[in-house]
């Protein structure tokens, strides 16, 4: 790991100003993703700005729903009674992620900024448009079993790796961002992520120095009846091949509202509005779930080794929906 300087910021203002002043600086919360990337020489930073002393904690019911401080750790949010009871899909997505040790360390904000597990991105011996813009993408014709079938481009088909982001996108969560000027703005998480297009190295809409300070999730009936199903190569401690975050509000056998998002198949967490729209107003039956799930992969573009995700994604949606009726 290259050497770097370190500072512990005393205020959000100090942290964001320091980051804005140095393009090679990075915030460090839990560090589980960052230190790994720096050890692998995928990222190099001149300065790490420790944000752990900033007041960005709290898991609480706000006026419109759930508010989670960006520095809360994955393990604490995953087991918090408010989250377990009212937003089970968030709890389940967190507890299906990583390992207990990593969940104790990793912050919620950092989780949302984790980078792809694409093997070509992770190995500096290969070209990669995300790591080294313009160098090429070996995944298109190489080993692409774990990579994306939705949202890819001729430059990049790297899968987004966060389970949490899939659950949060399904529930229409918003991020609170604070700028070096001290102003705050909120953005829907779904709009925060950027499709790779011709610039896969730019992954989100963060402005220079901007810091994620909180996550808010609207309360809803479909949030209370929600589920996260993660399909992977081994039973625990693995990234998703396919995952589904679903929520249903069913009254008298009829679906009043539905939320469905997929993980492991998209270059960003992939909400499938067509599936949701199909379900609303229909009886909550397995037959309808199957018909709806087929719409999820209508626009998919599979590659040599990941064609299996077309069928697996549909089955994962159906099984997840059956869990919440």
């Amino acid at each position: 790991m290259n050497n770097f300087a370190y500072t512990q910021a005393a205020s959000t203002k100090e942290a964001t100003a320091a980051k804005a002043a140095d393009k090679q600086a990075a915030f460090i919360g839990g560090g589980t993703a960052l230190i790994d990337l720096m050890k692998s020489n995928i990222e190099q930073h001149s300065l790490l700005i420790d944000i752990n002393k900033l007041s960005m904690l709290g898991i609480e019911n706000a006026a419109t729903g759930l508010r989670i401080g960006a520095l809360e750790r994955m393990s604490d949010v995953g087991e918090h009674p408010l989250v377990v009871q009212n937003y089970p899909v968030i709890s389940q997505s967190l507890l299906a992620s990583a390992s207990p040790q990593l969940r104790n360390m990793a912050s919620m904000g950092g989780n949302l900024l984790q980078r792809t597990r694409c093997g070509y991105f992770r190995d500096t011996a290969f070209p990669c448009n995300k790591r080294q813009p313009g160098s090429g993408c070996p995944a298109l014709v190489g080993d692409n079993r774990t990579l994306a079938i939705l949202g890819g481009s001729a430059s990049c088909i790297a899968t987004h790796a966060s389970d949490l982001a899939v659950a949060l996108v399904a529930l229409e969560a918003r991020l609170t961002l604070e700028s070096p000027k001290g102003t705050t703005r909120t953005v829907p998480l779904a709009d925060f992520y950027k499709l790779p297009g011709a610039t896969p190295n730019i992954e989100n809409h963060l402005q220079p120095g901007e810091l994620i300070t909180a996550i808010t999730v609207p309360a809803a009936a479909h949030a209370r009846k929600s589920h996260y199903l993660k399909v992977r190569d081994r039973a625990s401690y693995a990234y998703a091949l396919v995952s589904a975050a679903v929520g249903l509000d069913v009254q008298g056998g009829t679906i009043r509202s539905a939320r469905v998002a997929l993980g492991g198949v998209g270059t960003v967490p992939w909400r499938v509005l067509a599936v949701e729209k199909y379900l609303v107003g229909k009886p909550a039956t397995e037959e309808n779930f199957r018909a709806a799930a087929a719409l999820a992969v209508r626009d998919a573009k599979p590659y040599e080794h990941n064609k299996f995700k077309l069928e697996l994604a549909q089955r994962t949606i159906v099984r997840a929906l059956l869990e919440v009726v």
Partner: protein
């Protein structure tokens, strides 16, 4: 045990206070930005509004880590992980380096009672926290119940993952995540055993969980 934990520096005595390098880093970094407005009165007004810039550590710096109840003073670069500080600087080699990327769990230690991967933890960020390693588990010659259980159930073959397994097991039981076999398997999944001693590891963890439940 040395009376002074400081790592001897082959290059001679270490500089006291901020090094030239860290001073340059500071002037070029935070302070450079803060002091950019040239008019003195403006700068003064600005200084009133702003909290003092936090110090930047660059190169080796003195720090104190609390390990197994003892304050240990040492000089480390910011990039030194807790794992390397334990093994290379403090000769606490019970904590093992497996993958060095947070994938195997061999480096598991407790920080403020929570299990973490020491390989992805910067030592500089653990100042002021209580760090417990495998060396701090036994009370003198009396082994911790988890260590006893690993011996009784033969919870290892080569032994390399064992300190991490034991530290993780201690935390797993304390968290209340070892109440069934399935639950314990899931919550011990961050510790990989290449020899495949899993059935015996599971038996050890479950036995200790049972003892604690009985009180």
């Amino acid at each position: 045990m040395h009376s002074d934990d400081q790592t001897p520096d082959a290059a001679g005595p270490l500089p006291q206070g901020p090094s030239r390098r860290s001073f340059l880093k500071q002037t070029g970094g935070l302070l450079g930005v803060a002091l950019a407005p040239p008019i003195a009165s403006q700068a003064e007004a600005l200084a009133d509004k702003m909290a003092p810039a936090s110090p930047i550590i660059s190169g080796q710096a003195s720090m104190s880590l609390n390990i197994n109840g003892q304050a240990r003073n040492l000089r480390l670069e910011p990039r030194t992980t807790l794992l390397d500080a334990l093994r290379e600087n403090l000769d606490l080699t019970g904590t093992k380096k497996g993958c060095d990327h947070g994938q195997c769990g061999a480096c598991t230690v407790l920080v403020d009672g929570r299990r973490v991967n020491a390989c992805l933890t910067l030592a500089v960020m653990t100042q002021g926290k209580q760090i417990q390693t495998i060396e701090g588990l036994a009370q003198g010659d009396e082994l911790h119940p988890m260590q006893e259980a690993f011996l009784r159930h033969d919870g290892f073959q080569c032994g390399y993952c064992t300190p991490g397994q034991i530290m993780s097991g201690v935390a797993c039981v304390k968290e209340g995540h070892a109440t069934t076999d399935d639950q314990a398997r899931e919550w011990m999944s961050g510790n990989i055993c290449r020899c495949g001693a899993y059935p015996n590891i599971l038996a050890a963890v479950r036995e200790v969980a049972g003892q604690q439940a009985k009180g």
